[in-house]
């Protein structure tokens, strides 16, 4: 392991189950300090990829290294400084929360048992630590999963849907915790379906679909590439729509509840505002709107067989363009 080795580096990762290609030549680059979002629809291959990263399943082809070490070759040593869980964290239901942590701390060695009280405090499970895990709610088990991960003093935290099953307050607290861990220098690889959560927390993302990475890079770049949108409120939205339609470079103008939405390059927006002024239409507000992660996610991952086939085909073509540019 060298200091320069990235927390996660996957190259050409493939996992095939007989005829099913679960993971198809996935490359990942998680850098030190990243809060890295790993997104994809159900069955896209996210969890299989994370299992390979943690050495739980053997890749059919390709390699994955954690801080420069391949879990398939280095075994437990490759997980040095790495913690987390895939799918739901699992514990021994007949043991108490504290006993579970004691067991895991014993398997970690390295003085992990001295941190049990501290991590229980962090996830606010101290009052229930003496109760059997079999009686824990889903949210409490998620929190115990985080506590078990923190026992290892990780430099890389791999979390698979950590907010699943949590109530809104629990989700907010989970986000706060992840933010705090990131500020303490822990690199976080976060697999999530909660797109607003990823948008809020992550600086870099990989989006997988049907086992392949369809985008990997900075979230900000993705949103910029998604096209700059604008929203216009005017004294006469109907006339503004007609003017926008006639104006070169103004794409997809649509009149909605909150005014006129369209896409355009910045120079074209200036021309539109002048045209509106000449026509006597007053501009109440003109605000740029970046594409949301949700918009981009669906553009990148939905195929063209839905109800709005044509729109989705167009979206897919646009997404393909984004990937090529990325």
């Amino acid at each position: 392991m060298t200091d320069a080795a990235p927390p996660v580096r996957a190259r050409g990762l493939v996992k095939r189950y007989k005829e099913v290609l679960a993971v198809d030549h996935v490359d990942l680059n998680v850098r030190v300090g990243d809060v890295y979002g790993f997104l994809g629809p159900n069955g896209a291959g996210k969890t299989t990829t994370l299992r390979m990263a943690l050495g739980l399943i053997t890749p059919t082809a390709g390699t994955v290294e954690l801080f420069g070490r391949d879990p398939m070759r280095a075994g437990a040593r490759a997980l040095e400084g790495v913690a987390g869980f895939v799918e739901a964290p699992r514990f021994y239901p007949y043991l108490t929360g504290r006993k579970n942590l004691q067991l895991l701390a014993a398997l970690d060695a390295n003085g992990a048992s001295e941190r049990i009280d501290e991590v229980l405090e962090i996830v606010e499970l101290t009052p229930r630590a003496g109760h059997r895990v079999g009686g824990y709610s889903h949210g409490m088990r998620q929190r115990l999963g985080i506590a078990a991960a923190l026992l290892r003093r990780p430099r890389l935290l791999i979390l698979d849907e950590p907010a699943t099953g949590l109530d809104p307050a629990g989700m907010r607290d989970m986000r706060s915790l992840i933010r705090r861990l990131a500020t303490e220098g822990i690199t976080v690889l976060l697999s999530s379906h909660q797109l607003p959560e990823v948008q809020e927390l992550c600086d870099r993302v990989a989006i997988v679909d049907k086992g392949r990475v369809v985008y990997e890079g900075a979230l900000a770049d993705l949103r910029r590439q998604g096209g700059a949108g604008y929203r216009l409120r005017s004294t006469d939205d109907s006339r503004a729509l007609a003017i926008a339609r006639a104006q070169p470079g103004i794409e997809s103008p649509v009149l909605g509840e909150h005014g006129l939405a369209f896409q355009a390059e910045e120079s074209r927006v200036g021309a539109l505002s002048l045209a509106l002024g000449r026509a006597g239409v007053g501009i109440l507000s003109l605000t740029p709107e970046l594409a949301t992660l949700e918009d981009l996610f669906f553009r990148l991952t939905e195929d063209g067989h839905g109800e709005n086939g044509e729109v989705q085909h167009a979206a897919l073509a646009g997404a393909q363009h984004l990937v090529e540019r990325a």
Partner: protein, 290 residues
Amino acid sequence: MSAAGAAPAAPLLAGPFKRAATATAYRWELRKLVSQKRTYLGFGLAVALPLIFVIVQSLRHSHDHGENIFASQITHSGLATPVLMLLFLSVFMLPLIASLVAGDIVAAEDGNGTLKTILTRSVDRGQVFASKALAAATYATVAVFLSATVATVAGVAAWGFNSVTTYSGTVVSPSEGLLLIFAANACYLIPLFAVASIGVLLSTVTRNSAAAVVGAVGVTILLFIVAQIPGLEGIRPYLLTEQYEAWHGLLRTPTDWAPIWHSLWVCALYAGPALLTGYLVFLRRDVAGG
């Protein structure tokens, strides 16, 4: 989990890597066994059967002594009881008790998803497998000696701590008899460890507790059937089930070590490949459940 408001924790930075000891993993395997109700099912059988035997025999007025020398001494010495119990339980019940845990020890973790939990800590797969195999062997050992202890205490309480006549017709003192009885139980552990090894193998390969338990017991039954097939007398000495009686050699004067040494290497031929195969499967398997 209000992390934002929580007191600042110590810096969460990794220290130098230190692998957990296999002894630690083994100790925790035992603690897990102790914490599970199903563990006590086997122990319950190991305790209940000798008690039932002694109670029933105490209530009977006449005893059919049969051909066994220890059966003929049942009311003369309490030390005959643990020998008879070993004779009865060694055929089916103790292999079943050993299989209950051996067949469950890997498969249950696979089914519960806890295998992935422990395999993402600082412990290698080989260590986890070794600790589980050792825990299964420990459970079998405890069950055998628990049964022997209960049978001895109950037998002595019912019929006294008297001298006993061994298979060779030699009368041995109560203290020597007691020593021989526990040595005989220790000797019986040789084939029982082989049964447990097969249980661990099946538990690893099938990932199904019930299938592994039934499979391990099924192997024993199958070998008993094979032993009865005319024309297969030549392989009989090499069948695992034939080794269940090797301990008889200890209850002779002088001690007949031949069946015990034979049992040792024959059982090694069953246990060795079973454990090696289980180990290799465990090292390479995908942990995809849970």
